[in-house]
C-alpha cells in the first residue's frame, strides 16, 4: 500500500486532516481530468485511484460509486468556482439594463470556458448509458446555481426595476436567454464573433428587462 505510506502521519499514525484534504483535492482533480479526457464510461475507479496516488478504499470510504465520485469532482471543479466568481458581483450603479448586461457577460464567459463545454458534452453524451448521473447532479446543484442568478435579479427587483413573479422560472428564463444560443453553438464546436455575441446579449437583456418591467411602468 504505497499510496497510504505517502500520507503524512499525525499522532497515532493516522494521516493528518490537512493531508487527507490535500489527497481529496488531488483525487477529485485527477478524476475530473480523466473523465474529461476519456468520458465517463472509459475511466475506472481503479485507474483514478492509481493516478491520484490514493487507495481505492480511500475513495469508497467517501463515495458510493463512480457516479458519486464524478459528481463530487464536478462540484469541486465547477460549482465551487462558479460560486466564487458570481459572489463578488456588485450590481451596477448605471441601472438595471447595464447591470444585467455586465452580469450576462460574466455568465457567458463562464459557460463558454472550454472545460465547462467539455463537461456539458460529457453529461450529454453519457446520458443514455448513465441516466442517473446527470439527474443526480442536476437535482443537487440546480437550485444552488440559480440562487446566484436570483441574488442579482432580486437586487433589481427590490429597487423596483423589474418584477419577479415566479422567481425560480424567471431566473431560469434569464439564464437560458443569455447563455442558451452561445452554449448551444459551443456544444456543436462553434462560436460567433465577439461582436455578434455582444449584440445578442444586449438584445437578450433588453427583451428581458422590458419583459418584466413592473406593471406600473407599462402602458
Amino acid at each position: 500500500m504505497t499510496e497510504i505510506a505517502e500520507f503524512k502521519r499525525g499522532p497515532g499514525g493516522r494521516p493528518t486532516r490537512e493531508e487527507a484534504e490535500r489527497r481529496l483535492g488531488t483525487l477529485l482533480a485527477t478524476a475530473m481530468r480523466l473523465f474529461l479526457e476519456r468520458g465517463f464510461e472509459a475511466v475506472s475507479v481503479e485507474e483514478i485511484a492509481k493516478q491520484a496516488g490514493v487507495a481505492k478504499r480511500f475513495i469508497y470510504a467517501r463515495y458510493g460509486d463512480k457516479a458519486e465520485l464524478f459528481i463530487a469532482a464536478v462540484e469541486q471543479s465547477f460549482v465551487g468556482r462558479l460560486e466564487d466568481t458570481l459572489h463578488g458581483i456588485e450590481p451596477s450603479r448605471h441601472g438595471v439594463e447595464r447591470g444585467l448586461y455586465e452580469f450576462g457577460q460574466k455568465l457567458i464567459a463562464m459557460a463558454m470556458q472550454p472545460e465547462a463545454i467539455a463537461l456539458h458534452r460529457l453529461f450529454v453524451s453519457s446520458a443514455p448509458q448513465f441516466p442517473e448521473v446527470a439527474k443526480r447532479f442536476v437535482e443537487r446543484n440546480r437550485e444552488r446555481a440559480f440562487a446566484l442568478v436570483g441574488h442579482v435579479l432580486r437586487f433589481y427587483a427590490d429597487r423596483g426595476d423589474i418584477e419577479l413573479r415566479q422567481p425560480q422560472l424567471m431566473m431560469e428564463q434569464f439564464f437560458i436567454s443569455v447563455i442558451g444560443i452561445p452554449q448551444r453553438l459551443a456544444l456543436l464546436g462553434m462560436r460567433e464573433s465577439a461582436e455578434d455575441e455582444d449584440q445578442r446579449l444586449r438584445l437578450a437583456i433588453r427583451l428581458f428587462v422590458n419583459g418584466c418591467r413592473p406593471s406600473g411602468n407599462k402602458a
Copy 2:
C-alpha cells in the same frame, strides 16, 4: 452487383427516375437509423450501402463523403418534417400571446421528439472528433429553420402586436427562450412534468411579448 440488379429498369436498362428516388429515400432513412443507433464514427459508408441495398457508387455519385451523406439524411428526416409541421400553422385569432403560445407548444413538441433529441446528442457528441459536420449542417439549415419562426413572428409584427427590430436575433431569442430549458433537460435525459413545462412556456411567451411590445404601447 446484386443491389443494382434490384433497380427497376427503364428503356436502355437504366433505373427509372422513380426507382432511383425510392432508393435514395431508403438510403437516407437507413443512414439516419444507423447513425442514431451507433454514432457518426462507428458507421461506415460501406455498411450503410449494404443495409440500404445500394451500391457504394450510388452513394458517392451523390455525396462527397460520409459527412455529406449524414447531413442529407438529417435534412430528409428532420428539416423537411419541421417545415411540413410549421408551414401549416395559422396565427391565432385570440391575439399574439395566445398565438405564440400555441406555436411554442408545437416547437417544443418537435424539439422533444426522442429522435430529435438523439440527433442533437449525436451532433454534440461527435463535435470534437468531427468539427465540420455540425458546422456544415448549421450553415446550411440555420436560416431555413429560423425563417419558419420568422414567418410567425412577422405575422404579429405586421399587425403591430410586437416590434421586430433585429429580426434574425429576435427569432433566435424567441426560439431559445421557448425550447432552451426543455431541450437542455432532455439532452441530459430528463423531462419536467407537463404542468411545469406549460407554466414555463407561458412565462417565456409573456416575457417575450412584453419584451418586444411596440414603443407606443409602453410607458
